[in-house]
């Protein structure tokens, strides 16, 4: 094997590795929705299920419909609902992480207008993998009625 062939092989191998790395940073977003608002209501929440196939974290969400977007965590203890902002949400490899009305959710604050049922709300998620590589995922989340029950309360 010549040095050039050897080099080519290495490059080929590296590019395969690169492809693999790219493929392992796949992030799936399903069941995304935003709660519709009444006129004048300045904020709302966005909900979704995020699955990353390598250990990652959800760093932030952006949308043109709100001036401020934050990730909040809700917890219940002794029937007291506690709310707080979190810097990120861990996305362990292969685990479907739910952002639903009973846990994490995306707060859309200072809305630019009313969100009506059926509207498609563009959301851009920024996810960072264990190596510190960031990627953006663009989705459209339909607005569900203000009185939409989340699934866990349906049955």
């Amino acid at each position: 094997m010549t040095a050039v062939q050897h080099f080519k092989r290495i490059v080929f191998g590296l590019s395969l590795l690169g492809l693999a790395a790219h493929a392992s940073a796949q992030v799936q977003v399903t069941d995304a929705w935003v709660r519709a608002t009444v006129p004048g209501q300045p904020s709302s929440g966005a909900f979704m299920t995020v699955t990353a196939d390598s250990d990652s974290k959800l760093l932030s969400v952006a949308t043109p419909v709100a001036k401020i977007v934050q990730i909040h965590e809700m917890s219940m203890k002794d029937d007291v609902m506690r709310m707080g902002e979190v810097p990120s949400v861990a996305l362990p490899a292969g685990k479907a992480v739910k952002l639903d009305p009973e846990g994490y959710h995306v707060m859309l604050i200072n809305l630019t207008g009313q969100i009506k049922e059926g509207d498609q709300v563009p959301l851009t998620l920024t996810v960072e993998n264990a190596k510190g590589e960031k990627q953006s995922i663009e989705i459209n989340a339909p607005a569900r009625a203000l009185n939409a029950m989340d699934h866990s309360m349906m049955h």
């Binding site: 006129p39 029937d79 709310m83 009305p101 707060m107 203000l146």
Partner: protein, 201 residues
């Protein structure tokens, strides 16, 4: 058996039944709820005075003859408040005709941001019969204290959100506190316990 006798029997029966109902109200302060907490021996939420979204002054006695279900929250609440209100709307439907005497009262814990207009549109999006009450921050604090409601502002950047007690408080039609419904219960469980409150008075 004469018709008259039958009628007398019926009348006696009705009288006894009436007594039974009365004693049910007055002498058995405890109720057996399947899911919620019996609050019959608690003295809470009797003297709040707030405003409805039309600006009228409202007290507990404004709801005499109805079964008030009081919940504290805020319109910007993304999770527990809409879930609770949607659950109450569903429970009301499940109760059929009995649901008509249930009066859901949403008291804002965020009077600085929740305007009467937004509050009214917000609660009515769940059920047109729902009412929202507001007041000055001081008046809200007094009302919340009376119900033993914990709430605090949580700063988030330039804005804030609220942590708060998520219990719904149910009064009977005579204004006696009866039942506490936890946020974790579903509509069917709430409807069952609400019907138990209605059986008493």
């Amino acid at each position: 058996m004469s018709t008259l006798f039958t009628r007398r029997k019926v009348l006696t029966g009705m009288g006894l039944l009436g007594l039974g109902l009365l004693s049910g109200c007055d002498t058995s302060p405890k109720l057996n709820f399947k899911y919620g907490k019996d609050l019959s021996d608690k003295i809470m939420g009797r003297t709040f005075r707030l405003k409805n979204t039309e600006g009228e002054s409202v007290t507990l006695s404004s709801y005499r003859g109805l079964m008030p279900v009081v919940f504290f929250g805020f319109a910007q609440c993304p999770a527990v408040c809409p879930t609770t209100l949607a659950r109450m709307a569903q429970a009301k439907k499940m109760m059929g005709r009995d649901g008509k005497i249930m009066q859901v009262i949403f008291i804002t814990l965020d009077p600085e941001r929740d305007t009467p207009e937004v509050l009214d549109a917000y609660v009515k999006a769940f059920d047109p019969s729902f009412q929202a009450l507001y007041g000055t921050p001081e008046e809200i604090a007094v009302a919340a204290k009376e119900f033993g409601i914990f709430y605090e502002k949580i700063p988030t950047g330039d804005s804030y959100t609220l942590s708060h007690t998520a219990t719904s408080f149910v009064f009977d039609t005579r204004g006696n506190l009866r039942l506490g419904l936890s946020a974790s219960l579903n509509a069917k469980e709430c409807a069952e316990d609400l019907l138990t409150v209605m059986e008493v008075c």
